[in-house]
Symmetry: C2
Subunit: 438 residues, 2 copies
């Protein structure tokens, strides 16, 4: 049995966190392949090392003095080494990095050094072999990720190793140029390793005890979700729940490897299991609530639109021609709304409205910029009676008006649109109705 274990930045922010990590890894021999992030914040006002690296590189590009900030980065690592009493000298590494920075070897290279250095320290501390991600995580010269080549290289490299530490977040092109995944991409590295070694579980250690039923910024002490399906995770993540990097689940999802979200600071907590399928009923009828503000609803009325073959298609064509992706398209009789992200639309509004007018001659067209969308996510619920009524009643009891409702027949996830200013209140009302008073 192999466990692939990824630690987030806050789990490796200082020597004290490294000690917790050590205890976690060493407590189970199955925890064989470890993926570190760069050191995160030690306290609220602290900087993440990755942010400091971006800043340093930016200063160098402007030919200003980077020495002070570079020293801060160095001291983060030196403090950890010193406190852990490691026999490790990174002088040469820092020298090389500084030279490469000065030679402007790319923002991707700069950003990746946080994970690289942390992995060197971790490998030394755990007495595990260090495997540089640039040897095993493959991109082409246009910086496109190469999943099959990566999988083969990882397999070949790791198959004979008992243990290894592989830095997250980056890989390299055949010519050796460093390329990073998008921010938070250490999760992807972990998932790729888990897939390559056919891990029985991919552990994702962070600073919360799993995925919360609702955003803890809105619901204090929000309950932890026991078991999530990949699909539910995707749905919650898409709607703004912020635990796992959205793209990071695909490599393990495809291989049906379960993920566990665990808390470095409370390792006995059960955390959240993410599985491809489960018969287990969610504890609270709903699995989770998530949402985002600042959607735009383009509302279109036209008598007999339903009988006009191609009406909706023509409207959607306008959005497509303007490279705007559609979130939802609820409709009534003679009326439809197209919901899109505000950020994608604001500068294109005039053009889009003009084109819709030209192409379908609506009786009315209007834009509502004040829409928050909330998704209530669950499983095996399409035959559950009364859920929608309960959700809508709880919102009504909080004196919030529902602007948009959208539910498809296949699975249970219901999309609710409210005014931006009612967003938090709505999540609170739904959470209360299913969790507190259940």
């Amino acid at each position: 049995m192999i466990k692939v274990v990824k630690f987030g930045g806050s789990s490796l922010a200082d020597a004290n966190q490294f000690k917790k990590m050590y205890d976690i890894v060493k407590s189970q021999p199955e925890r064989r392949f470890i993926i570190p992030s760069a050191p995160g914040k030690r306290f609220k006002e602290d900087d993440k090392v990755t942010d400091l690296l971006y800043k340093t590189y930016d200063i160098i590009l402007k030919d200003k003095d980077y020495k002070k900030i570079f020293k801060r980065i160095k001291s983060r690592y030196l403090d950890i080494i010193k406190e852990l009493n490691l026999d490790l000298n990174l002088d040469e590494e820092f020298e090389k990095i500084e030279q490469n920075f000065i030679q402007k070897s790319g923002v991707n290279y700069a950003a990746s050094r946080g994970e690289y250095l942390n992995a060197l320290i971790m490998a030394k501390y755990l007495e595990y072999e260090f495997v540089d991600a640039k040897e095993v995580i493959c991109f082409d010269e246009d910086f496109n990720f190469l999943p099959e080549e990566t999988n083969n290289k990882l397999k070949n490299c790791l198959q004979d190793k008992e243990n290894a530490v592989i830095p997250g977040f980056y890989g390299a092109t055949p010519s050796g140029k460093i390329v990073t995944f998008s921010r938070g991409g250490s999760d992807i590295t972990g998932a790729l390793v888990a897939r390559a070694v056919s891990a029985s579980v991919y552990e994702n250690w962070t600073d919360v005890s799993g995925c919360m039923l609702a955003d803890p910024k809105i619901i204090k002490d929000a309950k932890v979700i026991d078991v999530l399906t990949y699909r539910e995770l995707r749905e919650l993540a898409y709607m703004g729940a912020n635990v796992l990097h959205e793209d990071s689940i695909f490599p393990v999802r495809r291989s049906l490897i379960p993920i566990r979200i665990l808390n470095t600071n409370a390792p006995v907590d059960k955390g959240t299991s993410i599985v491809s399928e489960t018969d287990k009923q969610a504890k609270y009828l709903i699995t989770g609530i998530a949402g985002k503000k600042n959607f735009v609803s383009v509302n279109i009325d036209k008598i007999k639109m339903n009988t006009e073959v191609g009406f909706c298609r023509k409207v959607l064509q306008v959005f497509e021609d303007n490279d705007i992706s559609i979130e939802h398209m609820p409709s009534g009789i003679d009326s439809m709304s197209v919901l899109i992200k505000g950020s994608n639309f604001n500068h294109k509004e005039e053009k889009v409205i003009k084109e819709i007018k030209e192409i379908v001659s609506p009786d009315y067209i209007g834009v509502d910029r004040n829409v928050a969308l909330i998704a209530v996510v669950g499983r095996c619920m399409k035959d559950k009676i009364g859920l929608v009524g309960r959700i809508c009643s709880s919102i009504a009891n909080a004196e919030i008006n529902i602007k948009i409702l959208d539910q498809v027949s296949s699975e249970f996830n219901i999309i609710i649109g409210v005014n931006n200013e009612d967003f938090e209140k709505t999540i609170y009302a739904i959470y209360n109705s299913f969790v507190i008073y259940d």
Copy 2:
């Protein structure tokens, strides 16, 4: 002030009904222009004259003996003339109609004679001038209706007349060929006359005391709607409420002429007013409920469909290419349903599914053939809190599962999808919650 008054078939089914019609027309001198339908059923098993005319013509086309059924038609009119003691001889008319039938002068001509003969009797009885619809309701030689020409001819013809009876349902081409509107088209004739004479109201006399809040076949003694907006009427009619012919409201809607639905058998009842706009709150929070069975839901899942620009458009394109109009397209996260009428889809299913698979490679595609859609229609309700919750709770309390929910932000009409077998129960549950226990 001019009132244009249309009587339905049951309001003119026999001499007794003609007497009621007479009293109604003569009680108000403003009731100047009258549009009759053909005689309807006098009792449940009776035939409508229009149906007998279609049958007769069909028999003639097959060169079989039509004499017996033609005699039945004649006797319907002769009975009315006799009982009303009218000095009117229709022998020549019947002779001419029979000759034209034998010469196969068209099914439209055949069908139109019901209104034509009834209008002759009505004009005589009321002592109003008869205006043949073939002189004033205009179609081109391809049987397309010509609204502007009709409006001008009606205006010219009626402007100097104090009163007139104009048969409903038909008109003619320039060459004199008779063309009928679709079934129930006498409502259209009435609306066209109302528009041409700038009537202050278009009265539509029938055998019910207005539009019902829900289908009286499902809800016995369903309450009458006081005031309906055109939009609500359209919405209810579109979803299957069966009072006014759907297309008939457009001519008067455009001219902002209110319609009143009144009961020939209970002329003191208030009936339903249909107006272009009203500040009047509907009595029961919701204006009405209507629905239809046998929709099909094509359910499509694909990870990240929301981020794929053009995904929905491509799916809708397939339906458009197969000449299928879309009713609704509710969506969740990574899932969407396309709702269409079953009758439009069944023979095209295989082709449509194949094309969707080719064009968007869904993770899952399935077809649910067991969908009834119900619309709850209202006005000024987009800021009413709690309505949706109340509707959904009432359905849940009846232990019915909601499969689909669709509500747009602009106006209040909410679309609810349930299994076909739950259709009546759902309407009953919603009606009870808003009307009985309100």
